[in-house]
């Protein structure tokens, strides 16, 4: 197992560290999967982390100038590491002005992801800083836990309002209740509601637009943006259909649905807030899929980064 990547471009470095920081706000530990083309940060929905799961996908070529890796074997050319994204984020934050940054898998007192940066200095020699972030190597037998989550058979898919607005609303609501009901329909309307014995508050959003999930088989292509036609069209695959039963996905639940009917999910408000507070990706598109009384699937897209976050419903 070998891995070494090098980032020279300041914008790439900055972007990369913002992605890692976003992840660090969502989870204490997660699994980092390295493949020859991609980096994934995965959190599988276990009870211990409140049932939330996360899938973040980055195209390595968009960040790294050099990217060399050798997986566990030629058959399984991947590396799976359990990392503490906060440490990684901290290491990257201090090297924002570096001339170049290397991220490599090293064997120190324990396996480490070493972030080595060449910093500008007052002398002819560069200043070199290294951060050894301890990681754990995830054995092959556990890899199956970190597969891409399947696209839920959602009832409603809707674009989110500006995340900052949403954050402000959720921040206020959090003071009043621990649970929030998120509901949306196919006419571009979404409501955020809290209900307690003393007070009921609802914030209504309208004209948000509903993404059209095209007819596909296998991996779903992300919808062509309807609201912002200028944004870069993302054609990279994100969610997979679990069954390959594309028809039910495409038409099924959503098309035969009454456009006014709301699909709703009651979620832990802290989980939603965490997602809204932490995100630093400035997504070009943000949307959410709702499976009635089951799960909220949030998707952020920004160039070649996609972040999916699943919040389960609570009774």
């Amino acid at each position: 197992m070998k891995f070494r990547g090098k980032i020279i471009d300041v914008a790439c470095l900055n972007h990369f560290s913002r992605v890692i920081t976003t992840i660090s706000k969502l989870t204490k530990t997660c699994v980092m999967r390295l493949t020859p083309d991609n980096l994934f940060f995965v959190l599988s929905g276990k009870v211990t982390n409140g049932g939330v799961s996360m899938w973040c996908e980055l195209h390595q070529a968009n960040f790294f100038d050099e990217f060399q890796m050798e997986g566990v074997s030629s058959e399984f050319n991947e590396i799976c590491l359990e990392v503490t994204p906060e440490n990684l984020s901290r290491a990257l934050k201090t090297v924002q002005n570096a001339k170049s940054v290397k991220v490599k898998l090293t064997k120190k007192h324990c396996p480490c992801l070493t972030v080595a940066a060449e910093l500008p200095s007052l002398s002819s020699n560069s200043r070199v800083v290294t951060h050894d972030v301890p990681v754990e190597v995830v054995p092959r037998s556990l890899w199956h836990e970190f597969k891409e989550p399947s696209m839920p058979d959602f009832d409603v898919s809707i674009y989110l309002p500006p995340l900052k607005t949403m954050k402000n609303v959720v921040d206020r609501m959090k003071n009043l209740s621990n649970f929030l009901v998120m509901e949306a329909n196919l006419s571009g309307e979404m409501n955020l509601k809290i209900e307690t014995d003393l007070v009921s508050v609802t914030t209504h959003f309208k004209d948000l637009g509903n993404p059209s999930w095209g007819k596909t088989s296998g991996p779903i292509r992300l919808p062509v943006p309807q609201i912002n036609p200028n944004v870069v069209e993302v054609t990279r695959m994100t969610p997979h259909v679990s069954t390959g039963d594309a028809a039910s996905q495409d038409g099924g639940a959503s098309q035969s649905r009454d456009p006014e009917a709301m699909a709703e999910v009651r979620v832990d408000i802290r989980k939603l807030q965490q997602f809204l507070v932490g995100q630093q990706v400035n997504p070009s598109k943000a949307m959410c899929n709702i499976v009635h009384q089951s799960v909220v699937h949030l998707i952020l897209l920004h160039d070649d980064v996609s972040l999916q976050y699943f919040i389960p419903a609570v009774a």
Binding site: L119, L122, T130, H131, D132, P134, V137, P139, S141
Partner: protein, 386 residues
């Protein structure tokens, strides 16, 4: 005593008090013939700081030479006088410091713009002289640099890092965070500075010392705002490190205890067999560009091993790391009880000796007095006045 500080010097005084507040809870004030001395010491006596403002720093400096007056007061209350350094600079034109011995009060009067007058009456306690004994001129290694260099260095260490280890060779200085248990899962950060980044770099002995970062940050804040060069004097492990700033009208010295390696068990001590070779000889900077990926190989069992703890942990250290809780504090507290405690460094900061407990010979170098070893900070203050 009556002194007047004007103009930009008010800010310098304010910054000095703020950096002293990083050390201890009390401010020791002693008007001397050669200037006003402001000092502080932490409760475990492992850190001491002193600023001496020469009479020329003040636009007026009157003291009664016949009386040796000394006092101490809560540093928090002095900080409130100079609370916001930013607004201080804009609004305060003059600061009077006056002693009212009849009422046991030290009065700070700030003359602000538009004739606004702010008066703070602070009560004080008498105290003995507080004077650490150190002789920085006898130190083997001396460095001088613009504070910016050290600010850019410490910025790489998160605030949670308490101690750093500084290792020096003829041409380089390495700074890394100090981790007591090599097997802990703490992040390790190391930074290498070349000698030519310093204004002065004189190494006579290759030492590796460990001291607290908090106080260094305090002095750096002062040095950076005043733009004064910072000198660093260091010697063998166990003898304090001295950080100082000097100017024609002021002098600041911070004396910080270093971790001693009395037991020669200190894992990161140079020459110790436990010291990891790659850490002892950190790679030269040019390696950064030319390293070979093969050197970063992690040997791993790649077969699909059955069972949950499959991967036959490649190294014992990994296995050990799994067993050891990552919580550093827990490790620290129990380190002495751990079975192979002899591998673990005994965290002992040697306290600094004070003039008041020794015969009054001001510039004696470190006396070989039985060491007063102090572990972590203990109960409240236990100054010699008590």
């Amino acid at each position: 005593m009556q002194c007047v500080v004007t103009g930009g010097n008010v800010k310098v005084l304010a910054k000095a008090i703020h950096s002293l507040s990083r050390i201890g809870d009390e401010l020791y004030v002693e008007p001397q013939g050669d200037g006003l001395a402001l000092r502080s010491v932490n409760s475990s006596r492992s850190a001491y700081a002193c600023f001496l403002f020469a009479p020329l720093f003040f636009s007026r400096y009157n003291i009664r030479k016949e009386v040796n007056f000394r006092c101490k007061m809560a540093i928090k209350s002095v900080q409130t006088v100079f609370r916001s350094v930013a607004t201080l600079e804009k609004t305060v034109e003059k600061c009077h410091i006056e002693l009212d011995e009849a009422k046991d009060r030290l009065t700070f009067t700030l003359h602000c713009k538009h004739g606004l007058l702010k008066t703070h009456n602070l009560s004080y306690q008498d105290s003995e002289s507080l004077q650490a004994v150190f002789d920085k001129d006898s130190y083997a290694n001396v460095f001088r640099a613009h504070p910016r260099l050290l600010v850019d260095t410490v910025v790489h260490f998160p605030l949670s890092v308490e101690e750093v280890t500084v290792t020096v060779s003829d041409e380089r200085m390495w700074v890394r965070n100090h981790v007591e248990d090599e097997r802990s899962r703490a992040m390790l950060t190391e930074l290498c500075l070349a000698s030519d980044e310093f204004d002065h770099f004189a190494v006579k002995a290759h030492h590796s010392i460990t001291f607290c970062l908090k106080e260094l940050r305090g002095l750096l804040a002062f040095a950076e705002s005043t733009g004064l060069l910072l000198s660093m004097y260091l010697d063998e492990p166990g003898s304090p490190v001295v950080l100082s700033v000097t100017d024609s009208v002021l002098e600041g010295n911070f004396v910080l205890a270093t971790l001693s390696d009395d037991h020669n068990l200190y894992g990161r001590d140079l020459g110790s067999p436990l010291y990891q070779p790659d850490a002892e000889q950190p790679p030269p900077p040019d390696d950064f560009m030319n390293d070979d990926i093969d050197s970063y190989l992690i040997a791993m069992d790649t077969s699909v091993a059955p069972g949950p703890s499959a991967a036959n942990p490649p190294t014992t250290s990994l296995a050990a790391a799994r067993e050891t809780p990552s919580d550093r504090h827990r490790i620290r507290r129990h380190s002495e009880e751990e079975e192979d405690g002899d591998r673990l460094p005994n965290k002992k900061f040697r306290s600094i000796f004070f003039g008041s407990v020794l015969p009054p010979s001001p510039q004696t170098s470190m006396q070989p007095v039985p060491t007063q070893e102090v572990l972590a900070s203990n109960s409240e203050d236990e100054t010699e006045a008590d």
